[in-house]
């Protein structure tokens, strides 16, 4: 029997924990399933997970690397989350990210030469990052416009744009933008100028100000979605396009804007990787971000702060996975399997509710609609 006095605090605590409960149980279940797979292929799951934890949180250097990994995940996860809020499924983060990175690399290494002046960092960095964002925004706005004005489904179109981006990037990095260094054997651009580089936070660690920017952008996206008219329009179109139309919202324009914001965030992920970490764009670096970012957005329940937490988790797993492979010979690809399982259990939360006998019903979020749109 519960007494009246005790009920209110218990209910409050439950309200606070409820949204976290299913994702946490999903992560736990996926880790257990992953452990079983590791054991089946002849590894020791405890040793593997210990390596994973050590590699991701065990030292200052490990923490720094986790933040470095998490940075593009935060941007790309936010990109997918914003699209979801607008009722759109952006599978094209990978292509948008690649285009952002290519553009940032180009502006980073070529602009001083074109202008024949040495740009100061406070102009060169914003220009590089900003144009990278713009490239991503345009790349996403194309399928957005096709969706809005012709009804072409964004799922297939964004995937096609990924392959087109990959082909164009391959062409550029093997041809006009290839690093002319005679020792260079790979498809990559030259290094960007020193004036376009975002500095690190601490002298000995790789963690850079891009990570701080990512956290800041998450706050901005939260503010945009819940505190501005545009955010209200995006969410309304996402929840019910017909109602939005009768309420006088320009649905088609909102769809294009949503995709452009989403693409800008993905482009930002690429631009930051170029300006703060790699100092160039190399072919193949963007592979895998598209699907990872979908998993992050879903695990974060399309909430900007949830996305940050999910991105840090994924960054930690990717980062620690390398150490795990080094210590236990378990291929780092197991991380992809575990991430796939996390997504499976988050998407089908009914499975989790069934396993753990959770009775509480949450509101079902409608994320996408069928081909009819």
């Amino acid at each position: 029997m519960q007494n009246i006095d005790g009920q209110i605090p218990v209910k409050k605590l439950r309200d606070l924990l409820n949204p976290l409960l299913v994702p946490l149980l999903a992560i736990f279940t996926a880790m257990v399933a992953g452990g079983i797979i590791i054991a089946i292929v002849g590894g020791n799951p405890f040793a593997a997970y210990w390596g994973l934890v050590q590699g991701s949180f065990g030292s200052a250097a490990a923490l720094s690397e986790t933040a470095v990994w998490a940075t593009p995940y935060i941007f790309a996860g936010l990109a997918v989350a914003v699209a979801f809020k607008g009722g759109l499924f952006n599978i094209g983060a990978e292509g948008q990210l690649a285009f952002g990175a290519v553009m940032a690399a180009l502006i980073g290494y070529a602009l001083p030469g074109w202008l024949h002046i040495d740009l100061p960092a406070y102009i060169h960095i914003p220009l590089t990052v900003g144009l990278g964002m713009l490239a991503g925004a345009i790349w996403a706005a194309i399928p957005g416009a096709l969706k809005a004005y012709t009804g072409g489904h964004e799922v297939i179109n964004t995937i096609m744009m990924n392959y087109i981006a990959l082909n164009i990037t391959s062409f550029l990095l093997n041809g006009p933008m290839r690093d002319p260094d005679p020792l260079n054997l790979s498809a990559r651009t030259p290094e960007i100028a020193a004036s376009a580089r975002i500095p690190t936070i601490f002298p000995d660690l790789r963690v850079h100000w891009g990570f701080v920017l990512a956290l800041l952008v998450a706050v901005i996206i939260w503010w945009l979605l819940w505190k501005t008219t545009m955010g209200f329009e995006i969410r309304t179109v996402g929840a019910n396009p017909d109602a939005a139309k009768y309420a006088g919202i320009n649905v088609k324009r909102t769809i294009v804007i949503t995709m452009a914001i989403s693409g800008a965030l993905a482009g930002l992920a690429g631009a930051i990787e170029v300006t703060a970490l790699n100092y160039r764009h190399e072919l193949g670096f963007s592979v895998g971000y598209g699907f990872d970012s979908i998993a992050i957005a879903l695990l974060g329940k399309t909430n900007p702060f949830g996305v940050v937490l999910a991105a840090i988790l994924f960054g930690a797993m990717r980062n620690g996975g390398t150490r795990m492979q080094f210590m236990t010979q378990i291929p780092v690809d197991i991380i992809s399997v575990i991430q796939g399982l996390i997504l499976l259990f988050v998407a089908a939360d009914a499975i989790i509710r069934f396993i753990y006998r959770i009775r509480v019903r949450e509101e079902r979020v409608v994320l996408t609609r069928g081909w009819g749109g």
Partner: protein
Amino acid sequence: MDWRRFAIIALVIVIMFGTVVVVGISQNSPLVIITSMLATTIAVATPLTLGALSGIYCERSGVVNIGIEGMMLGAAFFGWLASIYMNTVFHQVPMLSLLTGVFVAVLTGGLFALLHAVLSITFKVDQIIGGTVINILATGITGFLNRQMFFGSGSVFGGTVPHSPGVLPSIHIPLLADIPVFGRIFQQQPITLSALALVVITHFVLFHTRWGLRTRAVGEHPRAADTVGINVIRMRYLNVIIGGFMAGLGGAYFTLESISSFEPMMTNGRGFIALAAMIFGNWTPFGAWAAALVFGAAQALQINLQFFRELIPPSLAILQNSYVVGLAPYILTMLILTGLIGKTIAPAADGKPYEK
């Protein structure tokens, strides 16, 4: 399929074939080039055809399936793995290993489809997200097992890939394959020929049997179907699994018929292009096959232009760049989806879970 759509398909194929004929005419007779292009087109369209048929079974019964890409990738890997295992034991009879491989591939496709069915029909997960889960899982599992088994000191096969049983041999069809010059078109491998047969079979099943009528009823108006006693859930489950078998056979094409090895992510978007073919074909088997041929022709163009690389005149130098020519199927897909080429109508209940 209306005449307009067929006309566009014919036009696009003629343009692509014409390009190769113009480039290669100094070395080969047009007839030989066209025959070779046709044979390549039909062969490389196979995974697209089977992927589209997979989509048709799923979506005609009301389940959107964007996991075809992952189903094909998983089937390609496990079919290949099974054929290699068999080959280490029965290396005298490669055919036995290959057929086991095909069987395992088809089964893998079915199992992935079962997962999709459980997610989208029983748990009513957003079907596009369910398909994405399949794609991510398939990429992860095949990448993980590929490395775990074949690479590194601790791997199952000790760091080397054992001998594969090769690829399925092409079948000599009597009479058809004996036609001079054109006979080459009918000289195809078994999965390609099965795909052609399955197009006809699927058309018959879908439009001339009770099963097909029930499938379409469930996809168009599940409540009405339920009222007259059709088991909606059961029909959807079975159709999604049959679709999985089709995707599995399409996956087998990659590692057992086209080449005899596996590479991570080797399906390279074919599953998604197959969906576009299905939409362009208006959810009909023959229409989807015709659309798959267009994409096949685009790929055959790329392959044949590489073959005639030195003959390309400087005025058409852009055709020398395989990255540029490689854009064709993707841009075609987008153009098709914009509805520039006529409107298509999806099954009415496509993508909607059935609530009793």
